[in-house]
């Protein structure tokens, strides 16, 4: 009995597969599930079976009938939907796509993460005054950072900003406290170009001003940020640093993702990459921004976006960023 029922199904499928017209399918359907079909005969014989057989075959027979009907109906339906195909459906094509600059992609990731933590993305001018670039940041007149060697001074008494930190005081003046901003942007240093030095690169400034901000908040934000950017727990270490506009200051290093911490030219064989300098905003900077350091404090950090992109994409030569070689840049699909 089981054998016969199985055969009915395969026979139906076999006969259907040779049908191309609706009428043929209907004929086949009637042959297998019509009033005079074999399955109906079998169902009719069910009432003469003994109790054991009834129990054994009852549902199997019923299900087979349903299957036969379903298979025939499905075939009928598909027949109506069949397209008249007269093209090569196996052709393959390359995807043509533009690209975003790797720094744009990384900046988007970082700012997306910071936005979730309540930061606003703020812009500042690439050409700025000595006041905002230095004075307001507690960098006095004879500080080495102001040397011609490092800074591009201009013939209109302005300069090309050497860091995005100049936006700190501007933002404080404009928006007051409390404040959470990040500033992705281009900065300029008078350097000779080589594989690890550029005169034009990107930083991202971050600053939080609020009441009762601690070093622990700073560590928390940094960890969250790096985890998000690298999609993995990156090994980080903090060590003391020195910047005139933060106190205490620190340098945050992350283990070199290019060599995995073993040491390579990118990390100068130390296994660590200096990635995020920062610290607690210096009271003088708060004052320059018109904020009372007795009431508010906060932290600031500067993330090397260009360096981050190098780490993320394992780029060994910094010069590719501004060279504009499309053959290279087109690798950077829109993330």
């Amino acid at each position: 009995m089981e054998e016969e029922l199985k055969t009915l199904v395969t026979d139906l499928q076999k006969e259907l597969s040779s049908c191309t017209k609706e009428a043929d399918v209907l004929n086949v359907k009637s042959k297998y599930v019509g009033k005079k079909s074999r399955i109906m005969e079998i169902m009719a014989s069910l009432k003469d079976m003994n109790v054991d057989d009834k129990r054994k075959y009852g549902s199997l027979i019923n299900n087979t009938k349903k299957d036969l009907e379903r298979i025939a109906n499905e075939y009928l339906e598909n027949l109506g939907n069949t397209l008249d195909v007269n093209f090569d459906d196996t052709l393959d094509y390359d995807v043509k796509m533009g690209s975003l600059h790797p720094v744009t992609i990384v900046a988007k990731e970082v700012t997306d993460c910071l936005k979730k933590m309540g930061f606003t993305i703020v812009a500042g001018p690439e050409m700025d005054s000595e006041f905002y670039n230095f004075e307001a940041l507690n960098i006095p007149k004879d500080h080495p950072a102001r040397d011609m060697q490092d800074t591009y001074y201009l013939d209109n008494e302005m300069l090309l900003r050497t860091h995005t930190s100049g936006v700190q005081v501007k933002a404080m003046e404009k928006y007051g406290a409390p404040l959470r901003i990040c500033v992705p942007g281009r900065v300029f240093r008078n350097e000779d170009l080589d594989a690890s030095h550029e005169n034009t690169f990107f930083q991202l400034e971050g600053m939080v001003i609020d009441k009762n901000i601690s070093i622990e908040n700073l560590v928390g934000v940094m960890q969250e940020l790096l985890r998000e950017v690298f999609h993995t727990d990156v090994k980080v270490r903090l060590r003391p640093g020195f910047f005139p506009f933060t106190e205490p200051s620190y340098e945050l290093d992350c283990s070199c993702l290019i060599c995995g911490g073993k040491g390579c030219p990118t990390c100068k064989n130390s296994g660590w990459i200096e990635l995020v300098p920062g610290g607690m905003v210096h009271p003088n900077v708060l004052r320059a921004g018109g904020i009372d350091p007795e009431v508010y404090n906060g932290f600031a950090f500067g993330l090397g976006l260009t360096r981050l992109a190098m780490m993320k994409y394992k780029i060994k030569d910094i010069r590719v960023f501004n060279a504009g070689d499309i053959r290279y840049l087109e690798n950077f699909k829109i993330d």
Partner: protein, 774 residues
Amino acid sequence: MLISCNKLKTHIKNSDDINWLQIWDTFTIRTAEVEDVRVVGNSFEGVVVAEIKECVAHPDSDHMHILQVDAGEKDLIQVVCGAPNVRVGLKTALVKVGGRIDDVKITARPLRGVVSNGMCCSGRELSISDNHDGILELPTEWENGRDIKSYLPIDDIIVEIDNKSLTNRPDLWGHYGIAREIAAITNHELLPLDVEEVKNDKQDLDITIKNKDLCYRYCGLKLENITNNQTPLDMQIFLYYVGMRSISLLVDLTNYLMLELGQPMHAFDARVVKSIEVDTAKDGDVYTTLDGVERKLTHDMLMIKNGSKYFGIAGVMGGLDSEILPDTTSVFLESATFNAGSIRKTAVALGLRTEASARYEKSLDPNMTDMALKRLLYLLRQENPDLVIASNLTDVYPFVLTEGHISLQKKTLATYMGRVLPDADVKMYLEKLGFKVEVAKNSYEVTVPTYRHTKDVFIEQDLIEEIARLYGFENFEPKPLKLELSPKEHENVFTQEYEVKRLLATKYNMHEVHSYIWYDTSLLKELDLTKEGIKLLGKNENNILRDDLSLSLMNIVNFNYKNYASFGIFEIGSVFKKKESYRRLSIILVSDESALEKLYNGAKQITKYIFASLKNVNVKIMPNKDVASYYDGSLAKKVLVADDTIGTINVLSQKYATKIAKKKTIVTIEVDFDKYVALAKNPVLVEEVSKYPVVSLDYTIIVKRGKYADIETVLADFKSNLIKKRELVGTYENKYTIRYTLGSNNKTLEPKDLQTFKDRFMAHVKDHNLEIME
């Protein structure tokens, strides 16, 4: 800066408890970045003290000798040696057979026929000095046959500390300061330095500080009867390991003190220098420094001088004519403090950054000058027991730097640390670093030692840093920021930039590039273009800031055109005019010469699409007369929002295009991105879709003379309340097909409505002398 661990050990009690190889990781996260840790002294094995007992000339050589040396063994050892200083009685260093220098194993081998059972070594051969004038000359009291490492501090660990990370720590520019940090980090005791006090029962030296703003303190001491000017070997090794050349005891001692205390010193020959004035130079004077180079002086350079005679450039380098000579037996010692900024400027101006100037630039503590003299005196006395103190320790110190005082509020500390530290811990951290602490109810009353008070520690936050770093940054627990429920977005420039970039990259397959904000002057020259922009000072090329982003992107076009038949690039960047900078979006489309029409019309579509999709604004594109010379005047367009120009579309003149990309057409779109950001998004006005059907009518209009723009005005003039939409659906030669979509919101249009429209439209067109294809 190179640091010798052997030297550090002499300053710390029970220093053997410290793991001197591993401590530097901790030092990096507590104090300053360590760049390299190197074990030295392992370049040789089996080197012993040996005494030359016999010395005869080698028969087959004009310079070698055959030596019989006593290396503490029963028999003398025969060694062939080519050094000039061999002589009977000399004790020297011998590598015995079986010993090793670098990778060379020493074996018994004949030298011009005479067997040599080992090798006598120079300092350089052992990598303990750069002296290769002859074999080492060891003290006669050393025992023959003993390993020289048992006498000399040859096994050492040399550590390189990143100078940059020490810029704010003048106290760490010598071994003693580093030892203080290590002692604080490891909870050890820092040992005091041995000094010889000066009784001051003689005459003061004649020292005058004329410029008190630039010289804070000047201490002098005259010493006589210095007969031994031979630097002991262990000091030579130390100097060599930390990168300093050994010259003579007096010079070496001044360097040694600088490396130990961080206090630069100078020894003048007392026969030349008898009295001293500290004052600035006269413009145009020329002076020869120790290195034999003539230096041109200016009036802001501080000098050590007497009348018109210069003895040295203060804090930078001494002079040639007062230097210590082999026959010098009396010296005028200088130990002074100068203005950091002045020294830095002088050193930079002269291109002469010395070890001394590097330290002075950091703002040294004036209170260590006298100490340094006493320390030098002590060390010099070890080698010259009969030296004579010939003057008072003369001290000119116009403004005395005193210890600082900071009241550190416990509340502030707790806020910054995110936790409350026990008073005892705070006190311990600070005291180990040399601060004095009195614990009050709500504050710590902290006395700051002068070596941390020249520019480093002045406010509460400076102390918090000291506490935080000794507490250990790694011991802070990350704590998230509390997020207020009303986050404010102050600006959205970045987001708007990103939207446009993403659109161009995804919809139009363009590539975002970054170009320099200054023109490539060699390209300008090649194009024979001059730009009068803002200039970078002190640079002769690539020194003009761009005022046209598209032009500055031509370099990138030039770079790529050979690799791609057609491509599009874009950048959002700054351009500069006078004192202002502006943001611009520039899109450059490049294709074959023959594709001009497609490219040009494509540019118009892209422009319209950007504004339509992201701002819901319909821009107008009109001819532009005000256009730079390198763009084609006839095709120049401006992009208008209402009546305000927000951008331009241009074609680079063929003359320039050929030079940038041969046989290519270059079309540029430039958008004033400041205006773009400020441009409000038009609200979406939903128009009810009419229940009644609409009708499309196509008319093909022939323009005999003129362009589409000419009929556009005519069409715009034709008004009817049936018009739902009008669009240009096709062009062929001078024929333009216009499609009207007509309808009404109240009824289905009847044939007579359409007829009326047709009649009116035909009449309108004909009135304007246009022809319609029926």
